[in-house]
């Protein structure tokens, strides 16, 4: 019997080694270990053994079974991984073929920058306020300390609807509407479209966007104006960005300033982009003129404020290196898809 068991063990080992697939392996398992298998058949003869022989042979039989089982299990594992590897190999694809895109639309470059500026200001506690684009002469000029014959009107070539209605030349009109409707403290920005009779070329458009800011409260200083603009520019152009104010004149602010931002191309060293100035003119600003406050029913003895206006197109063009403003309104997809 011992010989029979050893024969089975040897035969199992030999046959298992040759197994090529799972099905064959299962057949072998049944052949050796199944109810009608070879090992079971041997074990059935155990009854005929002597009391001394029985435990010895029993032990041997168990070992043979365990060995075969172990062998089968190992074989099964290796067959599975071989199979899997083969399948993977067959399924291999060219990963350098283009991906299937689910296209997301692109924001217009004007919106990209406007959103940024809006976020910067809402972060500083500014509300975003809207106003009409077709505006009365009163809100666009008169209330801003620019009566009908004021020479400063010449610098803003205006589209007229009639003697009393214009397309707003600046979003400052929203300042007035806001001050009439709100009591200080006021912190707003009003972005929007403005219109000037400029013939279209690479740097002019009869329609463009402005972002106007207004702060009115007790104790607002020119230092606050400079600090706020510095924050804006640092957030837009990085912490190293510097600004420079030049005295200027606007009828609705006093003192007034034009604000230059350090050229981000050369960091102030001077380059063709900034025409060797080191700085680029970016916006107009100033302390709200007492007459304008008064006009809106705010007592200039108690309150002061500052205002600023910046052209969105100018920032956008510089940001993306766009050299022709017309592209912004042409809406060619080959342009839009770049942002």
């Amino acid at each position: 019997m011992r010989e029979a068991l050893e024969k089975i063990a040897a035969s199992a080992k030999e046959q298992l080694a040759k197994v090529a697939d799972i099905k064959e392996l299962e057949e072998l398992r049944i052949k050796f270990l199944g109810k009608k298998g070879e090992l079971t058949a041997i074990l059935k003869q155990m009854g005929g053994l002597s009391a001394e022989e029985r435990p010895v042979i029993g032990q041997l039989a168990n070992k043979v079974r365990a060995d075969i089982e172990q062998e089968i299990s190992e074989r099964a594992d290796s067959l599975k991984s071989e199979l899997s590897a083969k399948k993977m190999a067959e399924e291999t694809i060219d990963v350098t073929l283009p991906g299937k895109k689910r296209s997301v639309g692109k924001l217009h470059p004007l919106s990209i920058v406007l959103n940024e500026v809006e976020d910067i200001f809402t972060g500083m506690g500014f509300d975003i306020v809207d106003g009409p684009e077709v505006e009365t002469d009163h809100y666009c000029f008169e209330a801003l300390n620019m009566p009908k014959s004021h020479p400063a009107r010449d610098t803003q070539d205006t589209f007229y609807i009639n003697d009393n209605v214009v397309l707003r030349t600046q979003t400052s009109s929203v300042q007035i509407r806001t001050m009439e409707n709100r009591k200080p403290p006021i912190r707003i920005i009003s972005p929007g479209r403005v219109y000037r009779c400029d013939t279209v070329d690479a740097t002019h458009s009869p329609l463009f966007h402005q972002i106007e800011g207004l702060v009115v409260d007790k104790g607002i200083t020119m230092g606050d104006l400079i600090g706020t603009l510095e924050q804006l520019m640092k957030r837009l152009y990085g912490d190293d960005c510097k600004i420079r104010l030049r005295p200027h004149h606007f009828p609705y602010t006093e003192p007034s300033a034009e604000v230059d931002v350090m050229c981000y191309n050369c960091n102030g060293a001077g380059c063709p982009l900034c025409k060797n100035e080191g700085y680029i003119e970016l916006l107009g600003a100033g302390m709200v003129h007492p007459k304008v406050l008064e006009e809106c029913g705010i007592d200039p003895e108690v309150y002061s404020g500052f205002a600023f206006g910046v052209g969105l197109e100018r920032i956008v063009m510089r940001r993306f290196g766009i050299t022709d403003m017309r592209l912004l309104y042409e809406n060619d997809l080959r342009f839009l898809e770049q942002f």
Binding site: H108, T155, M222, I226, G227, Q231, P247, H248, M287
Partner: protein, 803 residues
């Protein structure tokens, strides 16, 4: 304002490189646009003397000159100029010299004879006869000694020798500072900026005896528009060129020298900022100058030779018969200074700024004078200007000024004052400047500080309140020396529901793959025809721009659809194979009885491309509605009699209006073939317009969690046969109603026409999903619901498809 630096140096000494001068002036408030060094391009050109002239051996028109250029040995130069005979002092461009417009001179041979340079003409030095009236235009510039340039040193640099070495600085002067449109005004700013003394002497003239009133009378009829009129008379006038120094300074300030009297008036205007006028007294008929409004139909031929029609609100200078000048704008042709003028009347007057501005604008002639007057000059400026003109006449020795002058003066001479409060100024600026320092700044600019007031000098018309004073202090202190601070106090910003809605809308559009566009708000009215709007459509009533740049941008759009069509067309034209676009923009709708139009926000969507059809644009709209919290919209086919005006733009059978509770939310569809043709779009294109405020009014943005289902859903698939004309929306409505509250969803999965389906019919297949929250639905419950569905469908003439 162009400024001659030589002229500036008469009043103030600034020892700074020109670049620094310009920068510092800009930072104190006088913005420099650019500067130009005169004669910068001229190098190695010297004064020479022609010693001898002999004919050229190989040429009839060339001559060979020996020229002394101060180097001992004369040099040989060949020239073709007819006005060289020997003995002349001339500008000589030596070998290796440069001239304006990039010209370089090298020695060489002319027809075989060596020439070591070139004798220069006026033009070759960038000059004209206006600059050197004694010279000729065609020929070599033969130098002549004159006052200020008496002796020539051979070999001297030509720029030094004849004074073409000025620097011209161009300032951009803001409208509140007409005083800076003058040399003295800028000198004053320079003196304050650089803290150096200002040397301005009060002009004085001796005059000759004689009563001006015997020569001239002045009457101001409109003392509101002309507050002051001062006049002087110069007799025995000698008209001729001005001296070199005057010509140089005029040229440096960009003004062409003409003759001594015209030059004097220009010189005074540039120096003092107060425009002057000179008349030939022969042409002042009746010996009287009357300042009055023009009469209806009156005309004048101005100095530039143009006949101009005047209107009644314009102010003129007239004699007893006719207008001789448009006040503050331009003189008349026949009153100007001629070569044979013997008696000159100088005018220094002050006209109302607004009136001059309107007149100049109406006549379409903005002059140096009008651009100064329109900003509001002070009548006090008349006296110095007139005196200076007389002083210059005496200085030039070109006439005899009568000692007596006329001064009709109705002006208010009380000085402008503003509160001076150093503490307030510091609080306002956020600075800590001492009161002494502030006073020093102000005095330097000509202000007087006394009794808590800042008293303006007459030339400053712009200081009215303490904020104005603060600006004067701040700009001399330096804007950039103010410490930046942050606004004190907290403020919480609110995003309005409108802004939130709009941002979400934009995010949705991007997510479904549409690119944002930005179009002009003004359009051509031709677009209304292009989108086939009916003649009587209310959308044809627009906000019209009275002075548009062109017809293309002449009306404010009442519908955003044409803007989208134009962009689709442009992209098609650029051969972009497909386009998915959106714009959030305004329409401008005139409202009866209101001054301003409504400006509602609209969302426009546009698309074309391979495989794109109506259901793509509809899918986009469905997705938007779902995202924006608008459920169960009604979609109605436009057909041929749609209430929405813009339906005309669309294919009547392939477009629809979206409504909710009767509110029109928008319109969408395939563009009408004619619309496509009008915009030259060669493929089918799809457009939608959604009304944002209307959408907001029906949007439910609050969301509440619904518990996930505990019990399984039961589904039934139904294929229904019905008339082709029945819209599936009707079937769906009926199904929903019939199933009732156990309905979870109705999903259409197939529409079939063709084989096995009768002509004029269609098969529509749905999956109906039902679920109860109280327990698993039994088959009986589900079957009962289906029965109800079939009954409801039967009423629509739809029945179960037999397979």
């Amino acid at each position: 304002m162009d400024l001659s630096m030589k002229w500036l140096a008469d009043y103030v000494k600034v020892e700074k490189p020109i670049r620094d001068f310009c920068y510092d002036m800009t930072m104190s408030g006088s913005k420099v646009e650019r500067y130009e060094v005169e004669g910068e391009e001229i190098s190695n050109v010297v004064v020479g003397k022609v010693l001898s002239v002999v004919p050229h051996e190989n040429s009839d028109h060339l001559v060979v000159c020996q020229v002394d250029v101060g180097k001992g040995e004369p040099i040989q130069i060949v020239t073709g100029a007819p006005n060289i005979h020997g003995g002349e002092i001339v500008p000589v461009a030596l070998d290796g010299s440069t001239l304006p417009r990039g010209v370089k001179i090298k020695k060489g041979k002319l027809r075989g004879v060596e020439s070591n340079g070139m004798l220069c003409s006026l033009g070759e030095l960038g000059l004209t006869v206006h600059d050197f009236p004694y010279a000729i235009e065609d020929g070599i510039f033969v130098l002549e000694p004159e006052a200020g340039c008496e002796n020539f040193v051979l070999g001297q640099d030509i720029k030094k020798a004849i004074g073409i070495d000025d620097t011209c600085v161009e300032f951009e002067i803001t409208s509140n500072r007409p005083d800076c449109m003058s040399v003295i005004g800028l000198a004053r700013e320079a003196a304050a900026t650089f803290d150096v003394p200002l040397n301005v002497k009060k002009p004085e003239f001796k005059g000759v005896d004689g009563d001006i009133n015997k020569e001239l009378a002045v009457e101001i009829k409109n003392t509101k528009l002309c507050q002051r009129y001062a006049a002087a008379v110069v007799k025995n006038v000698k008209i001729g060129p001005s001296p070199l120094w005057m010509r140089e300074r005029l040229r440096g300030c960009g003004v062409r020298p003409i003759n001594n009297f015209v030059d004097i008036t220009n010189y005074v205007m540039l120096e003092y900022g107060h425009p002057m006028h000179a008349f030939d007294s022969r042409y002042v008929e009746g010996g009287k100058i009357i300042i009055r409004n023009a009469e209806k139909g009156e005309t004048i031929t101005t100095l530039d030779g143009v006949e101009r029609e005047l209107s009644e609100e314009m102010l003129v200078i007239a004699d007893t018969k006719k207008p001789v000048a448009v006040a503050g704008v331009m003189g008349g042709e026949y009153s100007g200074i001629m070569d044979d003028t013997t008696t000159v009347v100088f005018e220094a007057a002050c006209f109302d700024g607004a009136s001059v501005r309107t007149t100049a604008k109406k006549l379409g002639m903005r002059t140096d004078a009008s651009s100064r007057f329109e900003k509001g000059l002070n009548p006090m400026g008349c006296t110095d200007a007139l005196a200076r003109a007389c002083e210059l006449v005496e200085m030039l020795g070109c006439g005899e000024v009568l000692k007596t002058t006329i001064d009709e003066d109705y002006s208010d001479k009380s000085p402008k004052t503003a509160v001076f409060d150093s503490k307030w100024i510091n609080n306002f600026l956020g600075t800590d400047i001492s009161e002494e320092q502030m006073i020093k700044y102000l005095e330097k600019l000509g202000f007087e500080v006394k009794d808590g007031q800042v008293v303006s000098p007459y030339w400053r018309i712009d200081i009215e309140c303490r904020a104005d004073v603060a600006e004067e202090v701040a700009r001399l202190y330096g804007y950039n020396n103010i410490t930046p601070t942050l606004i004190r106090g907290a403020a919480a910003a609110k995003i309005t529901p409108e802004q939130k809605f709009s941002r979400k809308l934009a995010a949705t559009m991007l997510a479904i793959g549409c690119n944002e566009i930005s179009t002009y708000s003004f359009v051509s009215p031709k677009n209304f025809d292009k989108i086939r709007l009916p003649e009587d459509s209310p959308l044809r009533k627009t906000v019209v721009i009275t002075n548009p740049l062109g017809e293309d941008t002449s009306v404010m759009r009442t519908t955003i659809i044409p803007s989208m069509c134009e962009v689709l067309a442009r992209n098609y034209n650029y051969r972009n194979p497909e386009a998915f676009l959106y714009e959030i923009g305004r329409e401008y709708i005139p409202v009866d009885g209101k001054e301003l139009p409504d400006e509602p926000d609209r969302l426009a969507i546009g698309m074309y491309g391979n495989g794109v059809d109506f259901y793509d644009i509809k899918g986009a709209v469905d997705e938007i509605m779902e995202e924006m919290g608008i459920s169960d919209c009604d979609v109605t086919a436009c057909g041929n009699d749609c209430e929405v005006s813009e339906a005309s733009a669309f294919h009547p059978g392939r477009s629809a209006v979206v409504t909710k509770n009767g509110v029109v939310l928008g319109i969408m569809g395939e563009l009408h073939p004619e619309t496509l043709e009008n915009y030259e779009i060669g493929v089918k294109a799809y457009v939608a317009k959604l009304n944002i405020p209307e959408m907001m009014s029906v949007s439910v943005t609050e969301k509440t969690y619904k518990p996930l289902p505990k019990f399984p859903a039961t589904t039934r698939d139904l294929s229904i046969i019905c008339d082709d004309a029945v819209p599936v929306a009707q079937l769906e409505k009926a199904i929903k109603k019939a199933v009732g509250n156990i309905l979870e969803s109705v999903k259409l999965f197939d529409v079939y026409k063709g084989k096995q389906i009768a002509e004029g019919k269609k098969s529509v297949s749905y999956t109906i999903s039902m679920r109860s929250h109280d327990g698993t639905l039994t088959d009986e419950q589900a079957d009962k619901a289906v029965k109800k569905v079939l009954k409801a469908l039967d009423e629509l003439g739809a029945s179960l498809r037999e397979i």
